[in-house]
């Protein structure tokens, strides 16, 4: 069938930030949907958000309450959410309690009552909360066949009356099989709460949605004073147009380091600054952001271990003004709420900021802090999540610089404790070395996927101006990367230039 012959299925906004993206643009109009999940999983709140987003005086929403939460208490609690608009009651949003009909009469009477109210109100949205308790009561009295006939008639009637419907129920996942309601439904939304150690994470799955492609998998969501907010596994990037690659070099404003990097970090790369505590990873990252700002490139710093004010203050101690660009809207320092965070939520915050200020540079300080801020359930998937995040952000042209703390070892030279070096295009390694009875610092550019880079090991200091590279290549030592270098003897030093000359003449 050609595109023009197909019926157009209009999509309704779900009223839940992030959910439209997950369901494939919006909820199909006139669809018959189930919201299932355990108690406290957010079913009623999700339905309310949909109701308040779509109800109008001309096409109101009728919300049938049945044997579940008391309607008075439901209104008491739901009005605490910002989406709840009392002005919509009762002309646009009508609550009708059917408990007495369910308790005193049969399913036929319930259906009659629903039909009567729907014909009277001509609603665009119908919700039955809780459908499960109604069915449970009926099941004790009627055969499965009668129940199936009731569900069939209800679905047919509501679709014919051009209502988009939500039936809410406390279902367990084992009930997915052999339940007529799930067969009849066009859409099946499953809300879960998973507990791991002391952490609870909410997840949403669109098990079924007829007529359009939804994003598969489990999506995290959070319930705040604004109601549900969902975070798509695709990070909402399906609607973003990918930018053309920009292969400029992004400098640090540290001339010697920029030279080592062949001019800077290639735009759109993911770079990693690895080193142990106190080696200046954060200072280097701050200089990267500050240099971008100096060049007119807006930036974002995602911090997990300190508050934005403290971060800006510390930058100030190196002569880097982050306060002014923050006020001017060119810099956002995101303090991502520690504990029980999901990568998707972090991404959502970062993407919002990227879009808001047109950020070109992003600093994640640090990956260890990021991991700690995640719920234990997400830590297990940290590498996979990080991969999705980096891929998504660099895909829209953002250059990422992450810091990571590594344990110093005198036998190894690790780049990261996360085995994530494959996720990064460029790696700068910082480390301590013991030289002449002092603990000094060296840096080396280990990897640059985008091109050539210096192989030099250079000493640096952290001064009042930030990271400053001192002196030239450290040619007087060998085994520098072990942290305990050996000073080359005079004779060896004399041999070194000769070896170089030989190498050049051979080449």
């Amino acid at each position: 069938m050609s595109t023009q012959d197909k019926v157009t299925i209009h999509q309704l906004p779900t009223g839940v930030p992030g959910l439209d993206e997950i369901v494939g643009g919006g909820l199909p109009e006139f669809s018959f949907n189930i919201i299932a999940g355990s108690p406290g999983s957010g079913k009623t709140t999700l339905a309310h958000q949909f109701v308040f987003a779509n109800a109008t005086p001309e096409r109101p929403a009728v919300y049938f309450t049945v044997l579940g939460e008391s309607a008075i208490k439901m209104l008491r609690y739901q009005q605490q959410y910002t989406f709840f608009d009392p002005a919509k009651l009762p002309n646009s949003v009508r609550f009708i309690n059917l408990s007495h009909v369910v308790l005193e009469k049969d399913l036929g009477a319930v259906l009659e009552e629903i039909i009567k109210e729907v014909e009277k109100a001509n609603p665009a949205v119908v919700v039955v909360d809780s459908f499960r308790t109604m069915v449970r009561k009926a099941r004790a009295e009627v055969s499965d066949m009668n129940l199936q006939a009731f569900i069939q008639r209800l679905a047919l009637f509501l679709a014919s009356w051009q209502a988009t419907t939500f039936l809410i129920g406390e279902y367990a996942e084992e009930e997915l099989q052999d339940n007529p309601i799930f067969t009849v439904a066009d859409g099946l939304f499953w809300l879960r709460q998973s507990t791991e150690r002391n952490s609870v994470v909410r997840k949403l799955q669109i098990i079924k949605l007829r007529g359009q492609a939804s994003v598969p998998g489990l999506h995290t969501f959070r319930i705040t004073s604004e109601g549900l907010q969902a975070f798509s596994r695709t990070f909402g990037l399906t609607r973003h147009v990918k930018r053309l690659p920009d292969r400029r070099r992004l400098t640090f404003g540290i001339p010697e380091l920029d030279k080592m990097l062949g001019g800077g970090i290639p735009a759109g790369d993911s770079a990693l600054v690895a080193g142990s505590s106190g080696t200046g990873k954060s200072v280097l990252a701050t200089q990267f952001i500050a240099e971008g700002l100096r060049q007119g490139e807006p930036g974002i710093v995602a911090v997990f271990e300190e508050r934005p004010q403290a971060y800006a203050k510390r930058a100030g101690s190196f002569g880097l003004d982050l306060a002014t660009p923050q006020k001017e809207g060119k810099l956002a320092i995101l303090y991502l709420r520690p504990l029980d965070l999901s990568v998707d939520e972090t991404m959502h915050s970062i993407l919002d900021a990227v879009q808001q200020i047109g950020a070109k540079r992003l600093v994640i300080d640090s990956l260890a802090g990021f991991e700690m801020a995640l719920s234990p359930g997400f830590r297990a998937d940290f590498r996979e999540s990080l991969y999705r995040m980096i891929f998504a952000l660099t895909g829209i042209g953002v250059t990422i610089l992450s810091t990571v703390e590594v344990d110093e070892s005198f036998t190894k030279f690790p780049f990261s404790t996360y085995s994530i070096s494959f996720l990064t295009d460029d790696i700068i390694r910082l480390r301590y070395v013991s030289i002449d009875g002092q603990l000094r610092k060296i840096m080396v550019v280990v990897k640059m996927r985008g091109g050539n880079h210096a192989k030099d090991i250079r000493e640096y200091e952290i001064t009042s101006k930030g990271v400053v590279i001192v002196g030239g290549r450290l040619t007087e030592y060998q085994h520098l990367i072990t942290g305990i270098p050996d000073r080359l003897s005079r004779s060896n030093l004399e041999k070194e230039p000769a070896r170089k000359r030989e190498g050049k003449s051979k080449g």
């Binding site: 309450t65 008391s70 309607a71 008075i72 208490k73 209104l75 008491r76 009005q79 009392p86 002005a87 009651l89 009762p90 609550f95 009708i96 309690n97 059917l98 408990s99 007495h100």
Partner: protein, 161 residues
């Protein structure tokens, strides 16, 4: 003028647990006056309270269910009885209807029978305010008495003025 404005109708939790706030009592009285004017002049004043109650019952049963309204009304009546003992002859039936208000004995003190109805309605409204807040209660009352503003302005111009 019959004005439903939530800022002045916000009882404290303590007030609603003990006795209706003055604003709630004032609102109840206005509703009774409205119904008294809307009904026939020969109708006794306690019937105005009954009409207010019935209007509330019909709308609240739709919203909260018969059982939900019945329990709310029972609580309201219990609170009202402590303030107006003559309400001891009144009961709330299983379907939420009010029984016995017509049996209120005329009190020696002028207006006492009217006062009992005011107290009962005020307690019921106070519970609504407590549970669903001012904004929703006002919306609900505006839905029950949609033309009240117009009618009340007539009352304000005539009777109250």
């Amino acid at each position: 003028m019959f004005r439903l404005h939530r800022s002045i109708l916000r009882p404290s939790a303590l007030q609603t647990r003990t006795m209706p706030a003055p604003a709630m009592r004032d609102l109840a009285r206005r509703l009774l006056d409205y119904e008294a004017v809307a009904g026939e002049s020969s109708v006794p004043t306690e019937f105005a309270a009954l009409r207010v109650y019935e209007n509330l019952r019909l709308h609240l049963c739709t919203l909260a269910g018969v059982a939900g309204f019945q329990s709310l009304a029972s609580r309201g009546l219990t609170l009202a009885k402590s303030e107006a003992p003559e309400l001891s002859v009144v009961q709330i039936a299983a379907d939420g209807r009010l029984q016995g208000l017509e049996h209120l004995e005329p009190q020696t003190e002028k207006g006492r029978e009217d006062e009992a109805g005011v107290v009962l309605i005020a307690q019921l409204l106070g519970l609504l305010f407590t549970f669903i807040g001012g904004a929703l209660t006002v919306r609900l009352l505006q839905n029950v008495w949609p033309d009240a503003a117009v009618e009340e302005s007539r009352i304000a111009n005539g009777r109250d003025a």
